[in-house]
């Protein structure tokens, strides 16, 4: 993957992201130094925490380029593992799930990335949706506790789907070399990340500016129709402007960005619903009031598999 560094379009795109982050970091620092404006303290802290999270994402992205194929598999494997850990820490399980959970952490997630590493595409696609879906209830049944059986199997399966399966598709963009669009892999991952994260941000900004009509106030009081549509239009426009970095035409890029934004919104909404159900604000907020890995990548998890399959279907015949 080191050849990616000699890819001028990737360097422009990544360089642009880094420049933007430097500017945002300076702004965030200035806001923290003199909070005399009418922006509340917690908003500034959230803003700075979000920027810190973007820096970490850039580090992960840069590392996965530098470390090469195996390195990026290990890196995303660790991310899946940590996200799954956050999820299962807060989602109640029973004593009888213990061995199933052990298998999920130490066998199923690593296998998913191994299979990806071997480019064993068909197994990669069915491992968690099909094989784990059979394995998990069987394993819980063997443990012998039948209370809340379907619920427990579903909880573990959903965690594996989001944290293992969906997230591994972001990594798959780097792994699977498409015959038609060789050399685009790293830029596609970065494109997905930029559009998805900007959609999150723009939804938030539009929501704060003109948000009135709540979409699902029981789930998340911050999600409004104005925010959603504003974010959708502006992030799609941004994604369209990035067409030069992708194998897409500008119209195709608009379609892709649109899809990423809708899915990103769905991801954020679903994860909010789970958090609301458990009664927490953030998956990372066990003690410190901070967002965890899963809080940052929830929208990406939903967008990654669909984006991957669209690219594969239309651009890698």
């Amino acid at each position: 993957m080191l050849r990616a560094i000699h890819d001028p379009r990737l360097m422009w795109l990544f360089g642009g992201v880094l420049c933007l982050l430097v500017i945002l970091t300076v702004i965030g620092h200035a806001l923290r130094q003199n909070p005399k404006s009418n922006v509340s303290r917690s908003t500034i802290d959230n803003f700075n925490a979000q920027i810190a999270a973007w820096w970490k994402m850039c580090v992960v992205f840069a590392l996965s380029l530098v470390l090469g194929r195996i390195g990026s598999l290990v890196l995303f494997g660790i991310l899946s593992f940590l996200a799954m850990r956050e999820y299962l820490t807060l989602v109640p399980t029973r004593r009888g799930d213990h061995r199933t959970l052990f298998w999920s952490f130490f066998v199923i997630i690593p296998l998913q990335y191994c299979v990806l590493g071997f480019h064993w595409y068909i197994v990669f696609a069915i491992m968690i949706p099909v094989l784990a879906c059979i394995f998990i209830p069987t394993s819980i049944a063997i443990a012998g506790d039948t209370a809340h059986f379907v619920e427990r199997a579903a909880k573990i399966q959903f965690g594996l789907m989001v944290c293992g399966y969906c997230l591994s598709h972001a990594c798959a963009l780097l792994q699977l070399t498409f015959p038609g669009i060789g050399g685009h892999e790293a830029r596609l991952l970065l494109y997905l990340g930029i559009v998805d994260q900007m959609n999150d941000l723009l939804q938030y900004v539009w929501g704060k500016l003109i948000g009135k009509n709540k979409i699902a106030w029981r789930v998340s009081p911050n999600k409004t129709w104005e925010g959603f549509l504003g974010g959708l239009v502006s992030a799609t426009a941004l994604g369209t402007l990035l067409w030069w970095a992708t194998p897409f035409t500008s119209l195709q890029s608009a379609g892709m960005s649109f899809t990423i934004c809708i899915l990103g919104f769905a991801g954020g909404l679903v994860m909010s619903a789970i958090k609301r159900d458990i009664g927490i604000k953030d998956f990372g907020a066990v003690i410190e009031r901070r967002a965890g890995i899963l809080d940052r990548i929830d929208s990406l998890c939903f967008a990654a598999p669909i984006f991957f399959h669209l690219v594969r279907y239309y651009f890698a015949p």
Binding site: R85, E86, L88, T89, F102, I287, E288
Partner: protein, 219 residues
Amino acid sequence: MSEGIHPVASLLAAVARGITGVQVQWAGCEPDERQRIYFANHTSHLDFVVLWSALPSEIRAQTRPIAAKDYWEETSLRHYLAEKVFKAVLLERGAMSKARSHEDAKFVGRSLIEDMAAALGERNSLILFPEGTRGSGEKVGEFRGGLYHLAVRRPDVELVPAYMENMNRILPKGEYLPVPMLSLLTFGKPIQVQAGEDKDAFLERAREAVSSLRRIGFA
């Protein structure tokens, strides 16, 4: 007790911290080198190592666990870990109920307390799980009397309650492979035996001091 921390102990502490990702909060006191008895709820074999690893290293070097002799002398590996690595104070469980007469039981009980007091010595601290056995994690079980007698015997030593959350899900009783969920460890405000307080009242108050530190209430 010999000086320094056994390298295997440091290694196991690092592994336990990695598995449990424990987040430590000193809610009622600060880490301190003064002599203390840390007493906590008990649900997992990892409890002691995690609690111990949460202490700063200079305190760690002089803090020893109280453990059950019957269990920790059963195999040579366990014995090695208890004796050499963690320098545990091994006590006989149920020794008092095995005693033939009331007088005998009293004598045995006193000698157990003397063993613990000797282990405290001039500068050591102890880690004690007063439930005496690992519970399921749903609630903190009844405390045994040792904590009270030791507190009366050594009123100069601070009694620090601690609550460990989620450990029963990471490595429950009867399992040998851990599931790496995140855990919380909270140290509370030190308690003392009050003037005129009887054993049962104190033990109940101590139990309450531990269970009130519960924060999330995982399933």
